[in-house]
Structures are given as C-alpha cells and as structure tokens.
C-alpha cells in the first residue's frame, strides 16, 4: 500500500509544490533551447529563432529566415523587365511603390535614360513613394505598439493607412500591390481631384499622428519596453550595413534621398532625423519624425508638380497609345514586341538604389541585350537588418524580442526575397 504522498502523486500525476525538495525548486542550471516561430505573431510569419536561454535571458539566438523565399531573382530571370514590377511589389509589400521606383530606376540606368524621365512622372513617383513610406511607417509603428499591448494606436494608424490605401487605389487601381510605375515613367496620370483629396488626407493624418504620439510617447509601459532595448552603436550599425531609420536611430546621418539624390528630391526640402542611443525608442521616434517629413515632402510636391507627359517619348521603352495599337500595324507591332519580348535593354550591369521604407533598397541588374534581365539582384535592407538581430537580442529577455523585431521592421517578402 503506497503512502499518502505517493498516492497523491499517482492520482494528480505530479507532486504538490509544497512536497518538492529544494533541488527540485531550483531552476535548472543548464541552458534551455526555445523555438520561436516561424508561425509566431511577432515573427511576422517568416522567421524562426532558436533561442538558447538562461532562465528568461537570451544567451544566443539563431535567427533563421527563408520561410518566405519566393525566388525573386529566379522569377525575374524568366520575366520581361516590365513583368518584374509585380514581383517588386511583393518584396516590401508595405511600401510597394518605392520598390517599383527602385526597379524602374535600375532598368533606366542600364537603358541609358536615367534622369530623362519627364518631370511630372518623377514628381508622381515621389508622391507615391512618400505615401508608401507613410504606409510602411504607420504599419510598423502600429503593429509594434499592438504587440506591446497598445491596441488603440494600432487601430488609429490602421485607419490612417486605410485612407492612404484608398488614395493609392484611385491612382493605381490596386490597394496594395500597385505595379504602377513603368520603365520611363508611370502607367497612368494622377486622377482628377487627387490634389484636394491628398491635402485633406494629410491633414487628417497629421491629427492621427498627434493622437498616437499622445498615446505612446509618455506611456510608461511603452517607454519602458522600448527604451534601452536592442541598442546598437553607430560603428556597429555602419559595419553591419544598416541603413534607413535603424541606422539613423544610431546616429548615422545617411539618407539616400539626400546623399545620393535621385528623382526630384533635390528640389524638395526635408530634414533627416537622427537619433542618439540607437535603441528601440529612438527607432520609433525617428520613424514618427519621418512620417512628419513625408507629409512635408508631399505638401511641397503638390505645390510644385508641373503639368506634362507622364511617360518618356522613346519608342524603345514607351508603349504606343491604345487607339494606335488597335488601328495601325506599326503601333500594333510595337505594342506586341514590348509586351511579348519585353523592353530590349542593352547589355550592361548597373546598381540603382533608393531610400526604401527600411533604408537603402537597391537593385543590381545584369542585362544581356534581350527583353529579360540576365540577373536581377535585390539588395534588401530587411535582410541586412535581420542579420544584426542575433546581436541585438543577446542579453535581453525573451519578451524583448518582440519590440526589437517590431522596430527592425523585418518584412518577410523583402528579407527572404
């Protein structure tokens, strides 16, 4: 007949806490391995981290991307230059327009028509890029806030993002994956009344930003979970190839729009916010400031945008008007060759880069003289930033992985390509 405690153990399947010995009470001395992701709400669905933890403290993190590897390069090698635009949309799907612009610029570089795109098209590109940058930052901040429990901020920013999506939809016809930019210009002009609706929208977003700042900036929980978390030094940031808001939060004063100006950015006035401590809070603050700068740029653009064509007048790259394509054999052939064989890009290699939502987004193209790229490499900021995360999370608690990842703003499509 077993004694009372053993019987209890048999019945309950475990010992009662008071029955535990001292050794059993103590935490196990050896390190533990915890798997996080790939399907984890904070891992954005596409990253797996194998954490080695000492209690709650992270000793080592093996970050494994690749769960969203959709073969951007291989697909591009089998598509015409124009057909690559939809693939670029889905790289950084939070700011697709910027990717479009980057790809268009890279192709224009190899074609030798870089800088010859009509002014109005360039302005439109800047407008849609900045709107995309805003959706990117709104999503990044909103989602991160939600992951830290601030659900209201998420809903407010999502509301603002929705306004921008609706505007972008009137421009391109799609809410998210626009494929709006073309080599040599953009696919269609801005719709009537766009000026007024964007002005209106920006005013409302101004308000939303103020609201969310009020909710977050002096919020003790938010502050405590962001401040001092995932800090990186300036030197580390540079050597690890960090760019964009993350590098700027570390004090790296570098912005492609200002330092390697492209498009019509030289004609626009904007400030580049730079942080000091390089922690999550600084990354958040830099992003909020960039949102305000975006609004500033957009307002200038609306004032300065000239009238004129939106596509370069070059038969090598521009499609003929639809009426001509249907009614004359010459334009029909041109249309056909553009669509089926692709824009014939002369042999050469070029690297073009723009300031994406997360920093320097570059496309490296090798052209072989046919209508498709021989190689199309995407320099994705997310991938570079994610590679630093192993260092960033070291020494922090498991819960801190969430804000660090949120503020790195790893976008699966762009990181895994």
């Amino acid at each position: 007949m077993p004694d009372q405690s053993t019987l209890k153990q048999l019945v309950l399947g475990r010992k009662d806490v008071q029955d535990l010995s001292d050794e059993e009470h103590a935490l196990p001395p050896d390190l533990m391995t915890v798997n996080m992701g790939p399907s984890h709400p904070a891992m954005h669905g596409t990253v797996r981290i194998v954490l080695t933890v000492d209690g709650e403290k992270i000793v080592k993190g093996d970050v494994q991307p690749g769960y969203l590897h959709r073969c951007f390069e291989k697909e591009s090698e089998h598509a015409t230059y124009t057909q690559v635009f939809p693939y670029t949309d889905r790289l950084n799907y939070v700011s697709p327009m910027i990717n479009n612009c980057g790809w268009a610029m890279a192709v224009e570089k190899v074609l030798g028509i870089y800088g010859k795109v009509p002014k109005r098209a360039e302005y439109i590109r800047v407008i849609v890029s900045e709107m995309s940058r805003m959706t990117d930052h709104l999503t990044c901040i909103g989602a991160s806030a939600m992951e830290l429990g601030a659900f209201t901020a998420f809903l407010y920013f999502l509301k603002a993002r929705e306004w921008l999506y609706e505007l972008l939809e009137t421009v391109s016809g799609a809410r998210l994956t626009h494929s709006y930019v073309r080599v040599g210009g953009v696919s269609k002009d801005l719709p009537a009344g766009f000026d007024a609706s964007l002005t209106n929208c920006l005013e409302r977003i101004d308000g939303v930003i103020a609201e969310v700042e009020g909710l977050l900036n002096n919020n003790k929980i938010f502050y405590d979970r962001m401040s001092g978390i995932g800090a990186m030094t300036k030197a580390d940031a540079i050597a690890s190839g960090c760019v964009g808001p993350i590098a700027r939060a570390c004090g790296v004063d570098y912005d492609v729009r200002r330092d390697y100006p492209y498009s019509v950015y030289p004609e626009l006035e904007f400030d580049v916010p730079v942080g000091t401590s390089g922690d999550c809070l600084d990354r958040y603050l830099v992003r909020v400031e960039e949102l305000k700068q975006c609004i500033r740029i957009l307002r200038q653009c609306l004032k300065q945008i000239p009238a004129g064509p939106i596509m370069i007048d070059d038969h090598r790259v521009a499609l003929p008007p639809k009426t001509d394509a249907y009614n004359t054999i010459e334009s029909m052939i041109r249309h056909f060759k553009h669509i089926m064989d692709g824009i014939r890009v002369p042999a050469g290699e070029a690297y073009a880069f723009v300031e994406g939502g997360n920093g320097e987004l570059g496309f490296f193209i090798v052209a072989d003289g046919t209508g498709r790229p021989y190689k199309a490499y995407c320099r994705s900021p997310s991938f570079v930033h994610l590679s630093t995360s192993e260092q960033l999370i070291k020494g922090h608690l498991i819960a801190d992985v969430v804000p660090i990842f949120g503020m790195i703003n790893m976008i699966g499509g762009e990181c895994d390509k």
């Binding site: 399907s39 709400p41 690749g66 969203l68 999502l158 994956t177 699966g412």
Partner: protein, 183 residues
C-alpha cells in the same frame, strides 16, 4: 462550384455529405459554430497587410463573430492561410493544422495560398492544399477585404450545412463506426 471542387480531393466526400443527415442538434451546434469562429492567422506574406485591413476598423471582421485571433492552434478552429506557403514552411503549416482540434476549417487567403499564384518555382508551394485540405479559396493578389468577408460568409454556410472538410471526415468516421458495429 468552388466548394464542390475542393471536396473532390477527399474520396467521395460529397457522397458522404449527402448520407449525413443533420439532426436538429447538429443544426444547432453548427449554428453556434459558425458565429464564433476563432481564427488562427497563419500570416506569411503580403496578404497579411490586407488581413490587417480586414481586422481593422473599416472592414471589421468582428461583425461576423470572427474577430478574435488566437495564436495557439489549440484554441482556434479556423486556420487562415494568409500568404505564400513555401516548401520550407510546409512542415510548420502541417504541424499547426494537426494541432488544431476538430472540427476545424481552413481558408486559403489569396492566390499564393490557393495555387501558388505567379510564384511557380523551386521554393513556393503550388497551393497550401498540397499539405492540408482547404475549405474556401479566396482569389486575388491580395484579395480585397470585401472578398474575404464574402469567403467568410461562404464558409459559414458551409459550416451550417455540415460540409466542411473536417465535419465530413468526422461524419464519415461515425458512419463507418456504426456500420462496423452493426455487422
């Protein structure tokens, strides 16, 4: 049409469904089930942005009783596959699905989850239904939020009719068990 196509993947699932007459209790249970779907968002890619919109203030999936995402498969009964499933992701998806308790339903959100879409290559899987059975497919790259709500209503009809994959499977097992008992 789309619904019927999906059921052909299970052997004679439609036939089984016809055999399975719903009792009043079944109807009541299914009525309850359809209005309290707990979603596991298996978010991998671009469609996640639209999933946020669906969950967000304007489209508000809460109107259909399916607003509350559960990030544990054991607490959820609707698996939303939102985005591209790669070969590397496949085992994780299967694991999550297997961990969900019956009855469970699956929505493939967007063309990538449905067929692979324009990602036909060495890494992207040609549709999540290569790994798990899917109840409703939503086309679109990404689908508009309205389409998602439409799909949700389609799924609700399906649940009410007892024609979800897992419902049919359960029913079939029951029928087989009864048949074996009576022998």
């Amino acid at each position: 049409m789309g619904l019927e196509l999906t059921t052909t993947r299970l052997e004679n699932a439609a036939e089984w469904a016809k055999l399975a007459k719903q009792s009043i209790l079944d109807k009541a249970t299914n009525w309850g089930r359809k209005f309290s779907l707990f979603t596991y968002p298996f978010v991998t890619a671009c469609c996640g942005m639209e999933f946020m919109s669906v969950a967000g203030p304007k489209y508000d999936i809460a109107r259909f009783g399916a607003e509350f995402p559960r990030f544990s498969p054991r607490q959820s009964d609707l698996l939303m596959i939102v985005g591209t499933i790669t070969e590397k992701q496949g085992p994780a998806l299967k694991r999550v699905f297997d961990q969900m308790a019956e009855p469970k339903w699956v929505i493939a959100f967007g063309v990538c989850a449905s067929t692979g879409g324009f990602y036909q290559n060495y890494s992207a899987m040609p549709g999540a239904d290569q790994v798990i059975p899917v109840d409703v497919y939503i086309p679109g790259c990404p689908p508009r939020p309205e389409q998602v709500l439409d799909a949700l209503i389609m799924l609700m009809d399906r649940i009410q009719a007892g024609r979800g994959h897992s419902q049919v499977r359960t029913k079939r097992e029951q029928l087989v068990a009864t048949a074996n008992d009576s022998e």
